[in-house]
């Protein structure tokens, strides 16, 4: 299992629970997750905190099937079957990786509008790790 310690996970809660990103004060690009130096202009560490809309579009995706899931997601695959993991281009620009839930794996497509929602990601050391997954943006 890709071990993420609780303190390390805790530091990323603003991103995992409510999509807090940073806007570069020099070039105006939005970084998500936050960076030490803006990944777009590589010239500024001066940021303003912004809450992202959670809306985006599937940039590309892969379907994870039996045997392909990392150990922390193996049980999820066994219970629910094949699940999609997508790179999503957020409305504010950044591309992020995440699972797509509440969707028939066969119907997911590039360009599909999605939005973030709080879900149980996995559990380790008896601690439930909550975070965002993407769900289809229609029907809310």
């Amino acid at each position: 299992m890709a071990h993420v310690s609780v303190p390390m996970y805790w530091r990323t809660i603003p991103q995992r629970y409510k999509m807090v990103g940073q806007k570069c004060k020099k070039c105006g690009h939005v970084n998500f997750p936050p960076k030490g130096v803006c990944k777009y202009c590589s010239a500024s560490s001066d940021f303003e905190e912004v809450k992202l809309s959670g809306l985006g579009k599937v940039h590309t995706f892969v379907l994870i099937s039996a045997g392909g899931a990392p150990p922390e997601f193996a049980e999820q695959e066994k219970a629910g079957g094949q699940y999609p993991v997508a790179i999503v281009e957020l409305a504010e620009g950044p591309k992020v990786i995440g699972q797509v839930a509440d969707v028939d794996p066969k119907s997911i497509a590039i360009g599909m509008p999605v939005k973030t929602e709080l879900r149980r990601i996995y559990s380790e050391e008896g601690v439930i790790r909550y975070g965002f997954k993407f769900v289809p943006a229609e029907g809310k």
């Binding site: 809660i13 629970y17 409510k18 809450k51 999820q76 066994k78 219970a79 629910g80 699972q99 839930a101 509440d102 929602e117 709080l118 879900r119 149980r120 990601i121 439930i128 909550y130 997954k133 029907g139 809310k140």
Partner: protein, 338 residues
């Protein structure tokens, strides 16, 4: 100044299992009047459902989460026995950490308990804004027939002193001591019920009728003054049993009777029922809500509809968005195969 509901929303998870699936697996289905019930996905729990329905409730007003000064969360099915539950939801929704938050657990009456706790905050600080969420997915051993009715769902309400959809006119409570019905002993994984039917009906009637009659007396009303009545729905028979004793008709129960398509929603039962009633109610309609939790207690709330404004997140739409699963998939999602 009147205090009441200025926004509301429902969330019903999309998976459904039909009673026929239980009949195939076990030979019978022990949930009177329940045709199918809702089931949470593998990656959902009462906290993720609460976050979703709280956001919807705020959006229905609309109200910015930063304005919320009180957050009350109710569930009998929390993922932790000890650890703040409302914090997960509060942070995800964006409600300030300075808002007073409270967790209401350990009774199916917790939904109305949370509502009353938030109302008391509003009475003390009328410029405040409160969010009440009941999210539940009760569970029991698959070997026990008390598991059969257990569904999943959530509702949220924004309490305010302006732009009211419905004013809360009054509330009344009754608590007493009864043993042996729907309880979870410390250190035990599953819910127990000694299933002494007639005795349990005695507790149900004693508590609900006392809180119900107390509110009627308080407002000098008769049961027929209410167009809509929501009574705790562990199955579809219980509300009718209570109603018959109080002189309430099945027609008055109709608009809020959600149990037949979602199952027993535990602490969210009466509040999802209330959301369904608000979807249908007209200005001037009066609504009576009576909850029940084993052990035992009952709360009654009386509301008056002030506006035709409806939530964009209707219970009916939630009921129509569904995907059927079979019993084996149900066991897998519930983590019942170990």
């Amino acid at each position: 100044m009147p205090i009441g509901i200025s926004g509301y929303a429902a969330y019903i998870p999309k998976f459904r299992i039909k009673k026929e699936e239980y009949a195939k697996a076990w030979g019978s289905f022990a949930a009177a009047g329940v045709a199918e019930k809702s089931v949470m996905g593998f990656d959902e729990d009462v906290l993720t459902s609460a976050a979703k329905v709280a956001k919807r409730g705020l959006e229905s007003v609309p109200l910015a989460p930063e304005k919320v000064s009180r957050f009350a969360l109710a569930s009998t099915s929390a993922p932790y026995v000890e650890k703040l539950l409302s914090g997960t939801v509060l942070v995800s929704v964006g409600i300030p950490g300075t808002a007073f938050c409270s967790d209401h657990t350990s009774s199916t009456r917790a939904g109305t308990e949370a509502m009353i706790a938030a109302l008391e905050h509003m009475m003390a600080s009328s410029s405040g804004r409160a969010v009440v969420v009941a999210a539940d997915a009760p569970s029991a051993s698959m070997w026990d027939t008390i598991e059969h009715p257990m569904g999943a769902g959530a509702a949220s309400f924004v309490l305010s002193n302006e732009d009211l959809i419905a004013e809360v006119e009054a509330y009344a409570c009754f608590a007493s001591e009864y043993l042996g019905e729907r309880f979870k002993p410390k250190d035990e994984e599953t819910l127990h019920d000694l299933n002494v039917k007639k005795y349990e009906e005695g507790s149900l009637l004693a508590n609900t009728i006392k809180s119900g009659n107390a509110i009627l007396k308080m407002l000098n009303r008769k049961p027929e003054d209410y167009q809509h009545v929501v009574i705790q729905q562990p199955d579809a028979r219980v509300p009718s049993t209570v109603a018959a004793r109080m002189g309430i008709t099945d027609a008055q129960l109709a608009s809020g009777l959600v149990v037949k398509s979602v199952g027993d929603l535990g602490a969210a039962s009466t509040l999802v029922g209330l959301a369904a009633v608000l979807d249908a109610a007209k200005v001037g309609d009066k609504i009576l809500v009576i909850s029940y939790g084993s052990g035992a207690a009952s709360d009654a709330l009386s509301l008056k509809v002030m506006s035709d404004r409806k939530s964009p997140f209707k219970v009916q739409a939630e009921l129509e968005r569904k995907e059927y699963i079979d019993y084996v998939k149900y066991l897998k999602i519930k983590g019942a195969i170990v």
